[in-house]
Every structure is written in C-alpha cells, then in structure tokens.
C-alpha cells in the first residue's frame, strides 16, 4: 500500500469514528447546525479524497451520504432515527470497505446499490419521515452484501491507527526506560559475579525486553527531520526576493528520523545555515552568469543515517568560503599570527568561521553578517553532542557537514580509566583505539604508531597523520598512574569537529549503553563533562565531552596537528633556482615531495590492476611489466621490496591509488602513494639531511616541512639491475667530482652516482672544487653545474682547461637550460659534454662513454 493510501485509510478511519459519535448526537438534537456542519464536512472530505485516490465504491457511497447530509444541512430534511440509521448503515459499509483496503491495499469488490438507492430515496424525500426503517441498515443485509467479499477476520477490530499522546508522557516514559536500562545493567553486573544463578534465563529475557522497550519508546519520540525543514521553502522563497537572487532548495532525506529533542535543537542552526548559504554563499544572478553557472543558485539539504548518528549536510553551489577574506579577518582580529596563518591549509582557515564573533560579510544585512553566525551554530550542535565541519571549493560552493546523535537520552559510550578514575567517552567521537609502546621505540614492522616529541609536546604518528596527544590524567589534574617501562600506552583517537586528537588513557574497558544525566548545577561550569551516569556496577561516572577537551586545549580552528617541528638549518646555501615540486602523501609521512621533472607520468591505478609476484608488486604498464613500490611501506622500512603484504591490506580501503611513474631506458617503475597534494614552484632548500633511506632530506615547501624523496634510491630498489649496465664492470671505483651549488641536486645526483658504482666527491662551488685540485685530488670525471653563484661553471671549466692536474679530465656540464644554447656555451668553455639536469640516463651514459674512452686511451 502506498503512503498516500495508508494515510487516507488512517485518516478516514478516524473521521468515521468521529462521524459515529456526531451522528448519534444529531439523532438526539436533529436541528444542531454545528454538528450537522461537521458531519457534512467529514463526509465531504472522505468523498473528495476517495475520488482523488480512485476509490469508486467509497466515493459513490460517500457521495450518496453527502447528498442526504446536504439536504439535512439545508433544512429541507429533518434528521430522525430512520435517516440516521440509513446514514449509519452507509458509514458501516464505508468502514468495511476501508478495512478491506487496509488488508489488501485495494477496494474489495461488492455491490452497494441497495444502500445507495436507500440513501438516494432519503435525499429525494421519497421516504416519509414516519416510514418505518427498512432493513438496509440491519446487520443481515450488510452481511448479505459482505458475504462474497474476502474473509477478513481482523476487519472487525479496526480502530484508529494513530493516537495523539502528550509529549510529556513520552518524556516521562523515556526517563523511566532510562532508569530501567540502568537497573538492567546493574542486575546484569550482579549476575556476572554469580555463576550458574537461577536468574540467568529470566534476566536474559528481561534484558531483551528492556532493549526492545527502549527501542520502542525511542521510536515514539522519533520524528522525520522534514519537520525541522518545513519552514525552509518559505524562508528561501522570501530570501530570494529580498536578495534578488534566484534560489532553488533541494531537500533529500526529509524522512530521516531522529529524536524530537534533537530535532528541536537542530531546527534553528539549520535555518541559520540556510540563511547563510542564501546570503553569503550564493552569488547574484549576474555574478553566476559571469562565472558560467546557471543563474539559479541551489541550496541543498541532505539527511541520512550513518552508524547510529544522523548526518545532515547543508550545501550550496555558490562562491565557496572566501579564504582570502577569512585570512585577512583572522589577522585583523589577531586570532592567529601571520606565520601561523601562512602555514595553515585553506581548510584550517575556513574553520575560523566557527570562531566566536567571526563574520566576513562586509555589510551587516538583515539576514546575516552580524558576527553571531556559525559559532552559535557550532555551539548548538556541540550542545547536543554533535560535530560540524565545512568543506568548501572556491567557485563551486560550500557544504556544512553536521553529525549528531540520534538521541540524547541513551548513548553508547566507551568506558576508560585515567588517573585511577573511570570515565565515559561518547562513542560518536571515538574514531579508533590505538595501543603503542610507551617508550616510543620504532617496532620492526614499522606498522605500529609511534609517539614523538616536539619540544615538550607529545604527538602520535598514526599512519599518515600527526595527532596531538593529550594525557587525560594530567588534563584532569589526576595523579599519574605508575607505568612500567615497556608498558603499552592506550590511546583513544577522538574526533572533535574536524580535528583529531589522541587521548592517552590508562585502561580501556567496554562500551556500555549509558543514560546521560545532567550534572549537578554546581558542576555545570566544568565544560569538560557533558553529563554523568550510573554504570552497571552502580558506580557514578562522569561523561567526558570531547568538544570540551578540545576547548580546554585550544584545539580550535587551527589545530595542533598543523604544527611541525622546526628543524635546524644545517649549513646550507641557498640556491635561487625555483623548482616545480610534486607534493604527495604516503603512509604516515605527512608530506613528501619529488621534483616534478623526475616524474615521467602520474597514473591512477585500481587495486585490480596491481598484481603481486613473490613479495613484489607489479602492474602491466604499456605492454610491459612495471615494478611498483608502495612508498608508505618502503619508508617505514617494511620487509620485502614492494611491501606487498601491507599493500594488499590497505588496498581494499581505497578505490584507486595515485602512482608516480619514473621512466628510464625504456624501463619504468611506479611509486604507489596515497594522495597527490599539489604541484608548487618553489625555491628548494634542503634544511635537514635525513638519515632515513629513501629520503634526501627535509625542506620547507609551501610553508611546511616536507620530506624530499630520493628517487635514485627507489629506482635502485625496484630494479636491482637498473644501473648495472652503466656501472663499471670491475676493479677500482671511478672517482667522480660533482660541483653543484644547489643542495637538492647535489643530494640527488650523489646517490644516483653512488648507486651506479662510482665513488663521488661533492663540492658546492667552483672555488671549493679548485681547492681540491690544488690539494692534489684526482678524479676520473667531473660533473659541474653551469649556473652557480661565485665562480660559475664556465669560469670553472676554463680554469681547469687552462692547465693543471685536471686539464684532461672529462668534464660534464649540467644545466637546466636548453640543449642548444647551453651546449654551445659549455663546449666553448671546455666541457666535454652537456647534459640536462634531471636527465639521469644521459648523465650516466655520458659518464660511461667518457670513462670508457679514458680507459681505452690509458
């Protein structure tokens, strides 16, 4: 049965019940105009709806009854017991048909001709008022008509399907159920201590019934979220007039149900957000046209259930959050320092809109812009244990993402211990539980999360993220619990808004359904707690509010996670070269970079395209097998060349992986990474030399400490024979001098040459190199950058060729300039060959060739 029909059946059933009473009243007082009017309207409504739904039997009957009632209303007929009986007879038939519809979803077959004739006779005045009642309304006749209808035993018990119940009664019921749940929990706890008790079975049953009852009562309080939305279409219509914008409102999932208490509390924030979207988010039609968008802006509301929570998204396809304006405002209001702002991602900046008194609207309009906006929304959402975040794309709009619990009364919570006390953390904010070694030692597998220290701040390295760690006991001023060295640390990873933080706790117990009770008024100022409850064992425990913790820590819009350690500058010279760097993420390494020039292609590979052979990962790429390396595993030192084992585990989690492809000599290798972040062109300064294999060092790129990966290392690892053909066969290792001012390229070239079997010495400029010559150092070949501060490559080459120890040594020029101009300059200066920077193949080939020539000559 469709919803409309079901609703009609319910409604009509209620109307008929009301009609019964009204008709009886009418019988007592035939001239009662008010009752007559009500009876007429009720029947009229039923008739109208039946016609609309195509229920012909009902319609005809109701129509005939309506005619009679019309005459009565006009006063051309006076109600008497006979007429009332005829109408009641019709009503009984209507009920029968309705029951049939309720059972089968369609009108049962049957003939109402005799009833209709009787009604028509009455309305035509054919039946004298004194005439005795015909047996039309008698049960026998009704039974005759019904006889050939399908058997419907339940038909007789049909009553009203809905009841109006005072909300207070429901609230009271909920409170009682809450108490019952607590008592049940207590009984279960007692039962656990007494083995083989005779109470086990009935207790189990009690437990099940309690759960069912709880669900049932919860259901009575559930209302579709559409109830909180029903005023929005009007609001949007008014706003669109007021703002001269064309706005369309989309509402999805209006039927998603949630607790009425939550519904009431979310109504205002939602209205406010829709207002905001209309006012700030959407552009004027002219602006939209100019931006190549449809003139009509779209605001969409979407609600759905997700894991015991309800997600509400409020989005628009407008201009998105103005990051620049937010940045200005943040600086103007002194909410963060310039350095902090510079280091912040757009997402972090956008979260400042949740800051108290933050508004970027340049003018205060009647709609919004008074700076009492999103922070109030956030506070309200947090008040009901929810979280809010925003995603915005410039020019494409913004989406607010609200996650709220289905109900406030009974929540699932994780019970933990810290500082000798137990606490409950609502499951809504618990992302995961992590156990790690307290001493922060890296485990061999490399998969375990690590605890690091930046100055005095503890951070947790969890996969690809760096999470601020909070010692819960210390935060709550509780005495620390003594830990043995080597003990495990329990960390509850909690989500607070868009921030994630790790709470260090002493112990993690179970999850329990708890009934949230408000804390005593004298404790209300402790925003760290959202309530308290009684556990199954009868003890009182405080419920931690992760939002309160975040507030206490000041993990607000920015987030501690954005901080990175400031590494010490290790005697570096600055090169003025700007390099295009590809930024990406892999595993727990937050930000990695590689010069874009070294990357041949970027591919997106689905797990299905990736195959394993032994412990290697392979893929078919352009008709050949290409080895793949899972960079995250490689960096964390996982065994196996490709880290195949770990990859297959993580592969299921992600639909596809970006792969950086490096090509050389017709061979290729792919590095599997997690995410490509950006391409930036920046001056590259390697500030800290890393001693981890595969990482050249750490540079500040886009304001963030970034690991620059050593491509040479990874290429060597994939193809153990990668450089073999270019490497000298045996004997003494050829000595190579690399003169390069740019730290990065020096760092990159040296490992490549070392890997190829050369012994490499590096100098950072011409003067330094010449000092080596004067010191009597001998080299088989010299590689020099052309463009260097101080003594440039050209001058350096001339000096060498002018005479001395190195006058005959093959001299290879490196430059980023194009082949022709640089090549000529290089040749003129006395270089043997010119090779483009990044062209590893050409460099190795050149070396090979010149060294071979030398060997033959020698």
């Amino acid at each position: 049965m469709d919803d409309l029909l079901a609703e009609f059946v319910t409604e009509a059933g209620e109307s008929l019940a009301e009609l019964d009473a009204a008709l009886l009243k009418l019988e007592q007082a035939p001239g009662d105009a008010e009752t007559l009017g009500r009876v007429f309207r009720l029947v009229h409504t039923i008739k109208g709806t039946c016609g609309f739904l195509g229920l012909t039997r009902l319609e005809h009957l109701a129509h005939a009854a309506e005619n009679v009632l019309g005459r009565l209303r006009e006063g051309s007929l006076v109600a008497n017991a006979d007429i009332i009986s005829v109408i009641l007879g019709a009503l009984d038939r209507l009920k029968l048909i309705l029951d049939g519809i309720r059972l089968t979803g369609a009108e049962p077959h049957g003939d109402d001709a005799s009833l209709i004739t009787a009604l028509d006779d009455v309305s035509a005045g054919k039946r004298s008022e004194a005439a005795p009642a015909e047996p039309v309304s008698k049960p026998e006749s009704a039974a005759e008509d019904v006889a050939h209808e399908p058997e419907a035993p339940e038909a007789h018990v049909a009553g009203p399907q809905t009841l109006r119940v005072n909300v207070e009664i429901l609230e009271e019921l909920m409170t009682l159920v809450g108490e019952l749940v607590l008592t049940r929990n207590q009984l279960m706890q007692i039962d656990r201590m007494h083995q083989n008790s005779a109470y086990v079975v009935p207790l189990q049953r009690l437990s099940h019934i309690t759960t069912d009852l709880q669900e049932g009562v919860m259901k009575t309080r559930m209302q579709p979220i559409g109830n909180a939305w029903n005023k929005l279409p009007r609001l949007v219509r008014d706003l669109s007039h007021e703002l001269s914008k064309s706005i369309e409102l989309d509402m999805l999932g209006a039927g998603t149900e949630l607790d009425r208490q939550v519904l009431e509390l979310i109504r205002d924030p939602l209205t406010h957000m829709v207002r905001n979207s209309a006012d700030h988010g959407l552009e004027t039609p002219a602006e939209r046209r100019a931006a190549g968008k449809a003139e009509t802006g779209r605001i969409s509301l979407n609600a759905y259930h997700e894991g015991g929570h309800i997600i509400i998204e409020v989005g628009d396809d407008g201009r998105g959050l103005p990051v620049d304006k937010i940045r200005e405002r943040v600086l103007a209001r002194g909410l963060a320092s310039e350095a902090d702002v510079a280091a912040m991602s757009d997402t972090s900046l956008q979260r400042f809109i949740f800051h108290p008194g933050f508004s970027t609207a340049s003018a205060v309009t009647s709609i919004s812009g008074r700076g009492v906006g999103m922070d109030v929304v956030k506070t309200n959402v947090e008040k009901i244990g929810g979280t809010i975040d925003v995603r915005s794309t410039p020019g494409a709009g913004a989406v607010f993402h609200i996650k709220i619990p289905l109900t406030l009364a009974i929540v699932s919570a994780l019970i933990i211990a810290a500082g000798g006390e137990r606490f409950a953390i609502p499951q809504i904010s618990v992302v995961e539980l992590v156990r790690t070694r307290a001493d922060g030692e890296a485990s061999v597998a490399g998969s375990e999360p690590l605890i690091d220290r930046i100055d005095e701040t503890l951070v947790l390295r969890l996969r690809d993220r760096l999470l601020p760690l909070v010692n819960l006991a210390a935060l709550l001023h509780l005495p620390p619990v003594h830990r043995e060295a080597g003990d495990c640390l329990h960390i509850v990873v909690a989500q607070v808004g868009a921030n994630t933080l790790g709470l260090v706790v002493d112990q993690v117990f179970d999850t329990e359904e708890i009934v949230v009770k408000p804390v005593s008024p004298i404790l209300r100022h402790l925003t760290l707690f959202s309530g308290n409850t009684i556990l199954g064992d009868g003890s009182v425990i405080m419920i931690l509010d992760p939002n309160g913790i975040a507030r206490l820590l000041g993990v607000g819009a920015s987030g501690v996670a954005e901080k990175r350690s400031v590494t010490q500058v290790v005697g570096s010279q600055t090169s003025t070269d700007r390099t295009s760097m590809l930024l990406f993420r892999a595993g727990m390494h937050r930000c990695l970079a590689v010069p874009l020039g070294l990357v041949s292609r970027l591919e997106d590979m689905k797990p299905a395209q990736i195959e394993t052979a032994g412990d290697m990962l392979l893929t078919q790429y352009r008709g050949k097998l290409m080895p793949l390396i899972c960079l995250a595993d490689g960096l964390s030192g996982a065994h196996g060349r490709g880290g195949a084992a770990t990859y297959t585990q993580s592969a299921e989690l992600s639909a596809s992986h970006p792969v950086l492809v490096f090509l050389d000599h017709g061979r290729s290798v792919g590095l599997i990474v997690d995410e490509i972040i950006d391409v930036v062109e920046e001056q590259l300064r390697i500030e800290l030399i890393a001693d981890r294999p595969g990482v050249l060092g750490i540079a500040v790129i886009a304001g963030r400490a970034t690991d620059v990966i050593d491509t040479g290392y990874w290429l060597t690892r994939a193809h153990q024979d990668w450089f073999i053909k270019s490497a000298p066969s045996a004997g003494r290792q050829p000595q190579i001098l690399v003169v390069e001012d740019d730290d990065f390229f020096r760092q990159m070239v040296v490992p490549i040459l070392s890997a190829a079997g050369y012994s490499v010495t590096a100098a950072s400029d011409g003067e330094q190199a010449l000092r080596l010559r004067d010191a009597g150092e001998r080299f088989d070949a010299i590689i020099s950058d052309i463009d260097m501060p101080g003594m440039g490559g050209v001058a350096f080459a001339r000096q060498i060729r002018a005479g001395g120890l190195w006058s005959q040594v093959p001299l290879i020029a490196l430059s980023g300039l194009d082949e022709h101009s640089a090549g000529r300059i290089a040749k003129d200066a006395g270089f043997t060959e010119h090779v483009m920077k990044h062209d590893r193949g050409a460099l190795l080939k050149g070396l090979e060739r010149h060294l071979a020539v030398n060997a033959v000559a020698a």
Partner: protein, 145 residues
C-alpha cells in the same frame, strides 16, 4: 524557620554540634563509595549513587574551612535536596534528632568567625552544647570562580 519549634538532625563537624532542619533532609548515609570529579571545586568531594539518583557530595569541613578529618575516620553524610537536585553533605558524624524549644534560639554572636557566620542561621542552646543551625541553601550555593 528557627523561630518555631523545629526538628533538627544533629551532626558534628570538627567537634562542633550543628543542626539541619529535618525537613531539608532526605536521607542519612553511612560510608558511601564516591566518584571523584576532576577539576571540580575542592569542596566537592565527588558524586555517589543513591538508589539510581546521582548525588553530589560536598565536604562540609572544606566548605567551612575546617581542617581535614583525620585519616581512616569513617564519615557520614546528610542528603539534602535543592532545586530538585540531591546533595550529600559530608560530615564527621550524624547524631540524634532534636527538637529544641524556640526560646533556646539565639542570633549569631557577633564574635562568630566569618566563615561560620556566613553559613549559620543562628544558635540553639542545648543542654551542655551549642548547636549551630546550618543554612543548607548557602552551603549549596557554590558559585564557580
């Protein structure tokens, strides 16, 4: 309230006899396990479960700036209700119920220490003792700093 013959529950705090109108008392508890409440004001000793209701316990020694009780001494509490919430007043000992004649009532002596004076509604002269009538509402109006 103290002007009519009132029934009091007597209690002792650091050897001082005190009285709380029996109408304000919901229960008298022996030693009860307490849950500490981190970051709460020092006067708040914790919370306890009284037949399914959560009761906030207030250490009256601390509230009246008296020296802490000797270790190992079992303390009792008087449960009072205020604004629909229950509070347990942690005391050294709960004694008998007395009904002193209103003629035995005196205002606070001017020399009474400021702390006592602020929580005392007056004094009853009992045989051999003086009983301080505690102002429960004042005791429970812990305004956070």
């Amino acid at each position: 309230m103290p002007h009519r013959a009132t029934v009091f529950v007597t209690l002792t705090l650091a050897d001082q006899l005190c009285g709380v109108p029996v109408t304000a008392v919901r229960d008298v508890l022996g030693v009860h396990p307490l849950t500490r409440i981190p970051l709460a004001p020092p006067e708040i000793a914790g919370s306890l479960n009284l037949r399914g209701r959560i009761v906030t316990a207030i250490d009256l020694r601390r509230r009246l700036r008296l020296p802490p009780a000797a270790g190992g001494v079992e303390r009792m509490s008087v449960v009072a209700e205020l604004g629909g919430d229950l509070y347990a007043l942690l005391v050294d000992h709960v004694g008998e119920v007395v009904s002193p004649p209103s003629t035995a009532f005196e205002r606070n002596p001017a020399t009474l220490s400021e702390t006592w004076a602020s929580f005392s509604l007056g004094i009853y002269r009992l045989e051999g003792h003086l009983m301080v009538v505690l102002d429960v509402a004042r005791l429970l109006s812990l305004t956070p700093a």
